[in-house]
């Protein structure tokens, strides 16, 4: 295939965010002074920790619902399940499996509510799901702060606030800490690889690939392309959209369990708040857009986004003597990436509309000349 100047510009334009991150990382890595071994080790940890959560974003994008900021609801479901599992003193892999199972009903309920609301806000799904996330955060806090203890019995005193009800700010997940990561651990030239976690992520990838080929998956793709045409073709559009959000929420719940087993600590009131934004920023960095995303985008996004996360504090410190700059930089970049991607998406949409209008005009002129 011959690469012309136009195709190169188009490729550059379509992957502007990714290119920008490659440049940031290319400058940041030598500035940070970290060794290759350290960086690879850290990246492997980040891939095992975050990939599952980011994979949960693929299904709503397929159904044309954009980036699901409502994935925080799934994260909340996973956290509630982990609080119960910790209270019941269940540990290890059984605790993880149990937490995943327990998170499902919460995820289904929250996902259905979110999906139904999003059906009422077609075309404005992203901002609506973002606000639903804030609203549900309040409901979650009410549940964890006031219902756990007096209504839902919590026996473990280490979990409950000194006043006798409500969950403490931090829950120690020592019982499940790295239980999956350490299940099958292989060391390759000094870098530890959590094989079992990668196998679970691989299963999730296979599920998504398989799901795309099912009848429901095909329906979602059709709904994502055109609502009216899909509806005329007999697809239950609204139901399909709700199912896509429910699936995403359930997967986000599992992802949160996987994420927290790696962290080993649950920050009861904050763990889920940043998850949606960081996951969305990562998938956008990987080259995804509001209406198109694939599995390679997830992994490329985790690598580039988290590489920036790892190197920026040290690069900032070495550059101007303040690590705080790097901390500030990464939060600023997360929001910046989302904004830039949304702007680029709108620009591309407008450009494509212009191009097709121009094409139509040229065709019409040719027809009139004939």
């Amino acid at each position: 295939m011959k690469i012309t100047k136009e195709t190169f510009i188009k490729l550059f334009r379509n992957n502007l965010v990714t290119v920008m991150f490659v440049i940031i990382c290319a400058f940041g890595i030598p500035l940070s002074g970290y060794s290759a071994n350290y960086l690879i080790g850290e990246i492997i940890v980040r891939i095992s920790r975050n990939s599952f959560l980011i994979l949960s974003l693929l299904i709503p994008i397929m159904a044309g619902m954009g980036l699901n900021f409502g994935m925080t609801l799934g994260a909340m479901a996973g956290e509630i399940a982990l609080i119960f599992v910790t209270d019941w003193s269940v540990v290890g892999i059984p605790a993880m499996v149990l937490a995943c199972i327990l998170s499902v009903p919460f995820s289904i309920i929250l996902g259905t509510i979110c999906g139904r609301i999003l059906n009422k806000a077609k075309g404005r799904e992203m901002v609506t799901s973002y606000i639903i996330g804030f609203f549900m955060n309040g409901v979650y806090q009410l549940f964890v702060l006031y219902a756990m203890g007096p209504i839902i019995p919590i026996k473990n005193k280490a979990l409950v606030l000194p006043r006798g009800y409500g969950i403490r700010n931090t829950v120690n997940l020592i019982g499940i800490r790295r239980s999956l990561d350490d299940l099958i651990k292989v060391r390759i030239s000094g870098v530890s690889v959590p094989v079992a976690t990668f196998l679970v992520i691989a299963v999730a990838c296979v599920f998504i690939v398989w799901f795309r080929k099912t009848k429901l998956g095909q329906d979602m793709r059709a709904v994502g392309q055109d609502l009216e045409v899909s509806s005329a073709a007999g697809i239950k559009v609204e139901n399909t959209r709700v199912v896509s959000i429910v699936l995403s929420t359930v997967l986000a719940g599992f992802g949160m369990v996987l994420y927290l087993q790696n962290m080993g600590t649950l920050n009861t009131y904050n763990s889920h708040t940043q998850i949606g934004m960081f996951s969305i920023a990562a998938i956008l960095v990987g080259g995804a857009s509001v209406n198109k995303a694939s599995i390679p985008n997830v992994f490329l996004g985790v690598i580039l986004f988290h590489l920036m996360f790892i190197v920026s504090p040290m690069a900032g410190k070495n550059l101007i003597g303040q690590a705080q700059l790097g901390e500030y930089f990464r939060v600023f970049v997360s929001y910046g990436v989302i904004t830039l991607s949304l702007v680029l998406y709108e620009m591309r949409k407008k450009r494509e509309a212009n191009d097709s209008a121009q094409l139509l005009e040229t065709e019409q002129e040719g027809y009139n000349n004939d």
Binding site: W88, V90, V91, I101
Partner: protein
């Protein structure tokens, strides 16, 4: 009842059974290994001067008179091995399987009672009860 409903109900039952199995397999218990003089069912069992207790494949614990240690275990069934020296300086080894009740988070394993009645766990396994300091 349609085939789809049957499949859905079966899947739900399998998931519930899996959750229950995980709850039983993964539940953590603390066994308090106690070498104290106790009275069980009207019979007094004297504490041993020194005894070695091993729970499953964990490191063995050495207890002296009036000593208490803890073994944290996962699941209900466990193997306990007690090694001690009798009055004739013979080393005796006793090994039994114990079953911890599911609802008990902490249980006391009385070594002196175990040595006298190793085949009846009602003698040596007792629930741990905390006594609050009164006013």
């Amino acid at each position: 009842m349609t085939r789809r409903t049957i499949v859905r109900i079966s899947a739900l039952v399998v998931i519930l059974l899996l959750a229950f199995a995980m709850l039983r397999i993964g539940r953590q218990h603390s066994i308090l290994l106690d070498d104290k003089t106790v009275t069980v069912q009207g019979q007094e069992y004297k504490a041993l001067d020194m005894v070695e207790v091993k729970v499953d494949k964990q490191d063995s614990v050495e207890l002296v008179k009036r000593d208490r240690d803890v073994a944290v275990v996962t699941g209900q069934s466990h193997k306990i091995k007690v090694t001690y020296t009798d009055a004739q300086w013979n080393e005796i080894e006793l090994e039994r399987k114990i079953k911890i009740p599911f609802d008990k988070e902490m249980i006391v394993f009385s070594v002196p009672a175990f040595i006298e009645n190793p085949d009846d766990d009602t003698y040596y396994l007792m629930p741990f009860e905390t006594t609050s300091v009164g006013n």
